[in-house]
Symmetry: C2
Subunit: 220 residues, 2 copies
DNA sequence: ACATTAAGTGGACATGTGTCCGCTTCGTGC
DNA sequence: GCACGAAGCGGACACATGTCCACTTAATGT
């Protein structure tokens, strides 16, 4: 997670968890195991679907004990998050770059917000299975997934853009920025989004248009 | 679930599951067990919190086998739903009555919609623990809770009011009514709402004001 | 090289959900 | 009253998550 300060907008998240430096490096056999686990998990998920693969399956297929598996990834949610990590970073980068470009082009703040939401929809669609698992959190601490870095980054980004729109005078100052940002993002929570797609049968386009309309109506 | 047709608005849900009449009535020992289970569950939930009570606990405390418990309620989600049943019906009634009254008083459709959302927020707050459990669905079929009657009723109600607002000319015909209704309701999904209250620390009033602002901006 | 030690390992175990199935009991028709 | 069949019963069982802990091993200092 990076902190990006462009113009007066603050988007993304400050670095915090990045080991104060006092921690010993991961042992190399451990690193090898981690890599093997991730590779095996990816294969199994692809072959049988995220929901149909158990932690025990993964441990067995990776040739490690369950204790080892759980030492690396506290639960399937964390493992899913780790599997998405690279792609999510690339996604983050591309969003940031695009926003920067739009700022340079003096695009309207609300236009940037709309574009960002559309991108998030794309990401939610592409990774819905893993994101659903990640959102769930562990069985012991359910629904902790909304606190995970990717979700928080999404929130900080949308909130930052909305705040910028307010400061640019495109949206009334009376608006409750944090709350509104959460509400714009609520339909994109993995399980909710998945419900729209599967149970309701909404197309990506309909979802995007619906959200866009709400955003488009925010200005006074 | 009732079907209520007032004016040209259709709110609520048609009766469908109500046993075509061919089914044999529940045996009275079974009915007694069901009642005992519900009473015991209510007591345990109140004493230790919904999340801290297991199905095995309930079976033991009710003096029945687990098989019996699961025969009555397929999972904790269903049990939670059953516990709310009475209160939810009363809530439904009061909402319907109020809407009827507002229609009589020729209140604006959007005003009715705002009022309904505020009521739903109140209900979500009061029963958040049970609703979260209900939303989750079983472990085997996760997130099936949004398909449960109470959630569906909420959706049909909000959608009906929004549709009425469109037909009354208060909101543009271009709007995608089903999608927008879902999006207005997304922040009230039990787990999302609970996240706002606990993790974000939003007050009821802020949530209500935020939603209200979005609804208030829908008109052309 | 070798001792030291924190990190790593793996499988047994504890707990929770949900299913299965042989036995029991209620309600009905005679 | 009685027999009979379906509904009900309950506990053993299958399977998943996540913890624990006695043993092993890789890295570091001398």
């Amino acid at each position: 997670m990076r902190l990006l300060l462009v113009d007066e907008i603050q988007v993304g998240l400050p670095i915090v968890n990045d080991s104060g430096g006092a921690e010993r490096a991961e042992r190399c056999d451990a690193a090898a195991n981690r890599a093997r686990i991730l590779a095996v998990a990816e294969k199994l998920f692809a072959a049988r679907g995220v929901a149909e693969v158990t932690m025990a399956d993964i441990a067995r297929a990776a040739g490690v004990g369950q204790g080892t598996l759980y030492r690396r990834f506290a639960n399937k949610s964390e493992l899913s998050l780790a599997l998405m990590d690279r792609q999510f970073r690339e996604f983050q980068d591309s969003v940031m770059r695009q926003i920067n470009w739009m700022i340079g082009a003096r695009a309207a703040r609300l236009g940037q917000l709309e574009w960002a939401l559309e991108s998030l929809i794309g990401f939610a669609e592409k990774h819905s299975a893993l994101l659903c698992e990640a959102e769930r959190g562990g069985v012991v601490v359910p629904n902790s997934g909304l606190q995970a870095p990717p979700m928080m980054w999404q929130y900080m980004t949308i909130r930052g853009l909305l705040q910028a729109a307010v400061e640019a005078g495109e949206v009334s100052r009376e608006i409750d920025v944090p709350v509104t940002a959460d509400m714009l993002l609520a339909p994109l929570h993995p399980s909710t989004f998945s419900f729209y797609r599967r149970a309701r049968g909404y197309s990506i386009e309909r979802i995007n248009a619906g959200l866009k309309r709400i955003v488009g109506r925010l200005p006074r």
